[in-house]
């Protein structure tokens, strides 16, 4: 069966520090991968999505970036965090064609 792993679960980082969040999917090939962010008490905003290795589409201009070095690995990064980067980050995968979108357990990031 397919599973999605996201880590770390929680993270407290100072302003100006770098960030690396990782997401991996097991049990499927060539998934579509997504990074969403949820600010406190708010809805979900799509940050990046990828339909294949090395293919990244950015939805919102910001100081975050994403990379997909392997088929089932999706990484969210920042060189210098801002206070406004705080939030709940969710990775998701789908295989298209009317299938579902499955979300990881999320990373709660607090920038202090």
């Amino acid at each position: 069966s397919q599973t999605i792993h996201q880590w770390p679960a929680t993270l407290v980082q100072p302003v100006g520090s770098p960030l690396s969040l990782e997401c991996t999917v097991e049990g499927t090939s060539n998934p579509n991968l997504y990074w969403y962010r949820q600010a406190a008490g708010r809805g979900l905003q799509l940050l990046f999505y990828s339909v294949g290795i090395g293919q990244i589409s950015s939805e919102v201009p910001q100081n975050l970036s994403a990379s997909r070095p392997q088929d089932r690995q999706f990484i969210l990064s920042s060189k210098k965090l801002l206070l406004s980067d705080s939030g709940f980050y969710l990775c998701a995968w789908s295989v298209g064609g009317g299938g579902g979108y499955t979300f990881g357990s999320g990373t709660r990031l607090t920038v202090v």
């Binding site: 799509l46 999505y49 579902g100 357990s105």
Partner: protein, 111 residues
């Protein structure tokens, strides 16, 4: 640009009564999803609606889709405390794979 709106944003329910959450979207789509989120947790998939007139039911929850009206409803029958959570609808636009979310409806079921 696809926009998805949910209402109400907050719903205070009494146990045993029926309620409906509405989800409107702005452009053509034939794929709509409902999710549940408990506080501090990730999203749990509830329903996938893939065609006009689709109706899905699971326990006290029933979701339906009207693609012509660009409207989905999530109906809660005889609310119970365990249904307290935030419910999101999400739509895939005609352009492809991106899932766009509504703002969510926070549901609180009181005894």
């Amino acid at each position: 640009e696809l926009k998805v709106e949910q209402n109400p944003l907050f719903l205070s329910m009494q146990e045993g009564k029926n309620y409906t959450i509405y989800c409107n979207y702005s452009t053509t789509s034939d794929r709509l999803y409902w999710y549940r989120q408990d506080p501090g947790k990730s999203l749990e998939s509830l329903f996938v609606l893939l065609s006009n007139g689709a109706v899905k039911q699971e326990g006290r929850l029933m979701a339906s889709l009207d693609t012509k009206a660009r409207l989905s409803t999530l109906h809660i029958t005889a609310a119970v405390h365990d249904l307290s959570a935030t419910y999101f609808c999400a739509v895939v636009g005609a352009a492809g794979n991106k899932l766009t979310f509504g703002g969510g409806t926070r549901v609180l079921v009181k005894p």
